[in-house]
């Protein structure tokens, strides 16, 4: 599975977790307390965020502290980065569209030689 900032923020719960951690470091329990979903579900989201490099887990004594990596977060708001993804997706769509059009054209006029 893709692990990058865009994957990280594709899910609304993960976006909320990031928002929460953007201003403070919290342990896993404290993060879970802010949500109405199960702790294992929150743990899973935290794990994905860690794999995407947006959250760092630090062991402090018996506690595991979750901290947002704000440097990585900056990538999310980097317009160049976002548009890169956006235009690549759009051009994929253009390619598919052109392929479909060419195909239908050929089936309408089979005599049409290149």
């Amino acid at each position: 599975m893709r692990r990058d900032v865009f994957q990280a923020i594709a899910d609304p719960t993960r976006r909320e977790i990031l928002e929460l951690l953007a201003t403070q470091t919290m342990n896993l329990n404290a993060v879970s307390d802010n949500f109405n979903i199960s702790r294992p579900a929150i743990s899973k989201h935290i794990r994905i965020l860690t794999e995407c490099g947006l959250i760092i887990i630090q062991q402090e004594g018996r506690e595991r502290q979750c901290k947002a990596d704000l440097g990585k977060m900056k990538q999310v708001v980097d317009w160049t980065n976002q548009f890169q993804v956006f235009w690549n997706n759009k051009l994929d769509a253009l390619e598919s569209f052109l392929a479909t059009e060419q195909q239908s054209k050929k089936s309408i006029s089979p005599k049409n030689k290149k």
Partner: protein
């Protein structure tokens, strides 16, 4: 933020005139790009659209700056009520039966960098949905249809 323009190049397996139509004829544009009624590839023509039909927060405002029939199309691209203005340029180059498309998006650094909400919602939630879901479905349906 980087000041160099964003450049994306693609070789498209279609003649230049077909690619030009896909970029300028709304009947075709709406199938992969955005639905812009009465779109006219003429300098000075202004148009606007939302990123997606279920996200009406960010209105895109564009004005055509330069048109070289079949070769080059350039327009401004900004968001209503937000700072910043960018310029988008499509250039087409004939390569045998194929077309090399060069997309240049300049001025992205003029957009506000401190609006994560804007960025996150607009680009992931909203746009990923059209691009990843509705467009994919449309394209797949269209190709199913032509196969029949």
């Amino acid at each position: 933020m980087k000041k160099e323009p964003l450049i994306v190049e693609r070789i498209l397996d279609a003649p230049t005139n077909l690619v030009w139509d896909a970029l300028t004829d709304n009947n075709k544009m709406k199938k992969w790009y955005f639905d812009i009624e009465h779109f006219k590839a003429e300098p000075g023509f202004e148009f606007q659209f939302y990123g997606s039909s279920d996200d009406k927060r960010y209105l895109h405002l564009c004005k055509i700056l330069e048109v070289e029939q079949g070769r080059k199309l350039s327009y401004s691209w900004k968001y209503k009520d937000y700072a910043g203005e960018s310029v988008l340029t499509f250039e087409l180059f004939e390569e045998g039966n194929k077309t090399r498309l060069k997309l240049t998006h300049e001025g992205l650094e003029t957009f506000p960098a401190d609006l994560p909400d804007f960025a996150v919602e607009s680009f992931t939630a909203g746009w990923n949905h059209i691009i990843g879901t509705s467009l994919k479905e449309f394209v797949e349906k269209a190709s199913e249809h032509t196969e029949k």
